[in-house]
Assembly symmetry: C2
Homo-oligomer: 337 residues x 2
């Protein structure tokens, strides 16, 4: 899922996303609740109408930004108190309120409020977060009133095997239509993340979607799919694209590099996106050097296309029983630029 | 002609421009000569290939930016010396070099180097600029080597009737395929500009295109067409769009205004552009308040669509013999928002 934080994947039209293979978008509850406000989005017809996207949308609970961005002020079993990153005002979020806001926004998939501790939190804090996340999952389940939204439970537990197992085992009886794995890609190593997935996904029902939140690099997606993950969101393709870094079939390309100045070759001959089929590297570099919007737009679109194509190719490889060799080929190829 | 200064109409794809009616684009020789360099554009296949626009392109001579932006250092009949606005380096431009650069860029319509004095210049400076512009027009004509580019002469003369007549009468014998009127919209009043057009266009052949450079507001375009102008370029639709001002069939709309926050009406129900058919005013405002790229993109596209529609409607009105009433209706309607 490309990330459309504020109801827009930065710089891109919905039809451009469709054309490169986007099926589902993510939007951020925290950001939309602050601007323009969930009730404004509701009044203007809900997120789909608001942002002109008629495909599925997933919203997070807002919790992650409360912990990472807003500056947590206080937390207990009832609510989290935090400071808005926009104007510093003191706000609070409860499990019920997180669901109500997401009902106002009107996404197709919504998330329980969870507690997401940092990667280096002591085990007591991890355990407490698992306890509270489990409690809140039940409260969110009880609050949900709309029957046209799929509410996902979120597994926490840091990189601790027994806490992950405990968290998953407590959530599964609540019979959510899908399960998210939160609290990863928050500072731990890729190896720790993969090992944690190895411990966690077997505890989640295989017939329901498993969503790894906020991940990640192309290699993380491949490794995670092979460990049972179905769904991802990450700002990496768009944020890197805006910052002039392209993911290509031969590795990462820094588009501002002077070596591209007179290069009339496409960014990635293997890619069918507008950046690769309509423009040469020299033009893409010029857009970034001149500070033109079309640079970030084109590279965002390209990177999203690259992510979708990687997932699509991986799906075929799995169906054809050659997933492991596909992984090896990707990892080797992505080192070569 | 929407303005694609650096080889891109800021934030927009060529197919988006086509879809709202763009037929021809302008690009700025001065800017492209500094970044990425005319020889780079040539090496990468010329402007059309470089910016992926297969329709006509017009380039200016670079002279206007030398006078307005770069800080003129010295001028004589041979050349202008100026300081780059990018890195302060000292550069020079000659009539021959202006043509050579435009031949490297490869636009369909190219411009003679002219001297463009400020609106408040004394009559002696205006007369001197006309003399030099005439001299340079001949030098440019003599330099031109490509036969697939239409070289336009440029009429100068400030707002002085006899200088304008003199400038036009000196250029017409050179038999350019088109004539531009420069040195307007540089500080004089609309009334002075219209009166100058009244004096100038009768001296230019009616069977060749007349191009009013750097103009202007929608009302300026209507008034100028009715005075014999065929072609315009202006940053106004895109620059205003980026700054959250929309031109609509009921007048200018400031998109950041709080009154739009919960407004689910389209920006302009009379407009068929993506901003008006896919989004409500509340969403457009949200994009600007949140600092999202899609705001400038959508309003640029809308304003270009508005300009094209105005010209298209005016053409029909002329053909149907109701140009004067069309003008009155426009001027009245554009006051009402």
């Amino acid at each position: 899922m490309p990330v459309g934080t504020l109801g827009t994947v930065k710089g891109l039209f919905p039809d451009q996303l469709r054309a490169v293979g986007t099926q589902k978008l993510l939007a951020n509850t925290y950001h939309l609740a602050l601007r323009p406000g969930a009730e404004v989005v509701e009044e203007l017809g809900g997120l789909h109408r608001f942002m002109d996207w008629d495909g599925p949308i997933l919203t997070d609970s807002g919790g992650f930004q409360v912990f990472s961005l807003a500056g947590l002020r206080d937390i207990d079993d009832e609510r989290v108190v935090f400071k808005s990153h926009i104007d510093g005002s003191i706000l609070e979020l409860t499990p019920a309120r997180a669901i109500e806001i997401q009902q106002q926004l009107g996404a197709d998939c919504i998330m329980c409020l969870d507690e997401c501790p940092p990667a280096d939190a002591p085990i007591e804090q991890i355990a407490e977060a698992v306890r509270r996340t489990t409690l809140w999952a039940q409260l969110c389940r009880d609050t949900q009133a709309r029957d046209d939204q799929a509410l996902f439970g979120i597994v926490q537990g840091g990189i601790d095997q027994s806490q992950r197992e405990k968290s998953a085992d407590k959530l599964v009886p609540l019979d959510f239509p899908g399960y998210a794995i939160g609290g990863l890609s928050v500072g731990e190593s890729p190896t720790e993340m993969y090992r944690t997935l190895d411990h966690t996904t077997p505890h989640l029902p295989s017939e329901k979607p498993r969503y790894l939140m906020g991940v990640g690099r192309p290699e993380d997606l491949v490794e995670s799919v092979l460990r049972g993950i179905d769904l991802f969101d990450c700002v990496m393709p768009t944020r890197n694209g805006r910052n002039a870094t392209a993911f290509t079939s031969t590795g990462r390309v820094k588009m501002r590099n002077r070596k591209h100045m007179r290069d009339d070759a496409p960014l990635d001959p293997a890619c069918e996106c507008p950046a690769c089929t309509r423009y040469c590297r020299g033009y893409l570099r010029h857009m970034f050097i001149a500070g033109e919007m079309l640079g970030p737009i084109l590279l965002s679109l390209h990177n999203i296309a690259f992510y979708h194509r990687t997932m699509s190719d991986l799906r075929v490889a799995i169906l054809e029983g050659r997933a492991d060799s596909f992984r090896s080929e990707c990892l080797a190829a992505w080192e070569s630029e």
